[in-house]
């Protein structure tokens, strides 16, 4: 029986909300797929487009950037900047021809452990039919 494709997802989680949300999912013993590689960043606003391109270039099948809900940012407005900048990144990646689900952004607060597990399950389900990401992967 052919094994199902397991996508590798690099997740940039902001320290104050999404990381805590993921932690909550962990300590509450909620189950979610192990496809995610969490990277803690201080704020979603600190995620440079370079990180995203770099993750894709080094073989990530999907990239997730997650931060606090608008208005909840620890640094007052970091997530607003992230929203604007990453909207452009998303449009650009789609324009180049990368499948839209490969780059995702979400708001997960520290209390939303359930939302986080749900989100990861959905992401894995979306990425599975697409197969491995080879378009931006470094190939030499």
């Amino acid at each position: 029986m052919a094994e199902e494709f397991e996508p590798k997802i690099v997740a940039f989680l902001c320290k104050w909300c999404s990381s805590a949300g993921a932690d909550l999912a962990g300590v509450s013993r909620m189950e979610y797929p192990p496809n995610i590689i969490p990277i803690q960043v201080m704020c979603s606003g600190s995620v440079s487009p370079l990180y995203i391109f770099s993750a894709l270039s080094q073989g990530a099948d999907g990239v997730l950037v997650s931060g606090c809900h608008p208005g909840d940012c620890h640094y007052m407005k970091g997530n607003y900047y992230a929203r604007r900048r990453l909207a452009l990144v998303k449009k650009l990646l789609e324009y180049i021809g990368l499948e839209p689900p490969r780059f995702q952004m979400s708001w997960v607060s520290a209390t939303e452990g359930v939302k986080f597990t749900q989100l990861i399950k959905e992401l894995v389900k979306e990425l599975q039919p697409l197969g491995p990401q080879t378009k931006l992967r470094r190939n030499f």
Partner: protein, 343 residues
């Protein structure tokens, strides 16, 4: 039509007053129609200046060289430098002012309006003339361009040989300048984003095939970076050699410099470089089209930059280069920015 004599007179006036260090304009290369940037220091040299449809260079680029030189000199000459600018060049000055890279009193701007014409596209001209070599190219009446071939004058309607960027130009007159020569005439509004519309209609895989083919050709000569009026960083992520080394830089720092992207001209690295370039120019690119013009392998770079410009306009209502007092695109936000893509 911009009067060349008037342009020379203004240049002479400001040069002889000693208010500017030098003036950057355009001059003919020998007796040919081709034009190159001219650096004019003395009032008696202003006769070298020309203004033709072949003046495609964006002279804003030379400000970076001047600023770097000033930083190195012990007693720099701090007088402003003079520039002859077209509509697109004036917008790039505005972006540099917005980013506080430049102070308004560091430059003296002589604006020339393109009026109903603009600058030509060399390939279009070559195709139009069918292999004949032009001797002179001049602005004609209204929206025509006069081309002299074999001592015979031909009037060509401007849209036939104008560069694409000029046909899609949002403002073909300087939006910031100390003096403006010529009239502020706006060409009939054409579709601003005509070039990209056909690619936007394609499906994802089709677009990918198109871009992969384009980017595979890239030689990584960085001509696009060198010519860009917005590329003034001392360090460049795209180029592992270009990073600022000072006396304090340790060997360890040099060794541990992150190589985001390799220098090999491999498709994957080329795509990375161009993605970074496109994102870095989002909200800054003024669509002067120089990158596309200088590309030795004809990669349609304007399609990328124009897409970002369009998204900035549609998503955030941001127009590049018209107002030097507003903050740059990604250094500001609004509460109601679209977020339907966020879960």
């Amino acid at each position: 039509m911009v009067n060349l004599e008037q342009l020379k007179e203004e240049a002479k006036k400001i040069l002889s007053s000693g208010k500017i260090k030098y003036l950057i304009g355009y001059e003919n290369i020998g007796a040919s129609w081709q034009v190159r940037p001219a650096f004019i220091c003395r009032p008696e040299d202003v006769d070298r200046l020309v203004w033709t449809p072949a003046c495609f260079h964006n002279l804003t680029r030379f400000i970076h060289d001047e600023k770097r030189k000033r930083a190195r000199e012990k007693n720099p000459d701090l007088r402003p430098i003079g520039l002859i600018i077209k509509g697109c060049d004036s917008r790039s000055i505005n972006v540099l002012l917005q980013e506080k890279y430049l102070e308004r009193n560091e430059v003296y701007l002589i604006g020339v309006s393109c009026e109903l014409a603009g600058v030509i596209d060399e390939t279009k001209l070559r195709n139009h003339l069918g292999g004949l070599k032009p001797e002179k190219i001049l602005f004609g009446e209204k929206d025509t361009i006069k081309v002299i071939v074999n001592n015979e004058e031909r009037e060509i309607p401007a849209p036939q040989i104008l560069a694409k960027r000029c046909l899609e130009c949002p403002a073909n007159y300087p939006v910031i300048a100390d003096i403006i020569l010529g009239e502020k005439i706006k060409r009939n509004p054409t579709d601003r984003y005509k070039s990209i519309s056909q690619y936007e209609k394609m499906s994802g895989p089709e677009r990918w095939a198109f871009w992969l083919e384009q980017f595979s050709r890239c030689l990584r000569c960085y001509a696009c970076r060198s010519v860009c009026p917005m590329c003034y960083c001392d360090e460049c992520v795209a180029d592992s050699i270009a990073f600022a080394v000072t006396a304090e830089t340790t060997a360890e720092e040099k060794a541990q410099k992150i190589r985001w992207v390799e220098r090999n001209p491999e498709p994957s690295e080329n795509i990375f470089f161009h993605l970074v370039r496109a994102i870095h120019l989002a909200g800054r690119c003024v669509d002067c089209g120089e990158c596309e013009r200088v590309c030795p392998v004809a990669i349609p770079l304007r399609l990328l930059n124009q897409k970002m410009e369009k998204e900035a306009k549609e998503l955030f209502g941001y127009e590049v280069g018209f107002d030097a007092s507003q903050p740059p695109l990604i250094a500001c936000f609004r509460d109601n920015d679209p977020q339907d893509f966020i879960r």
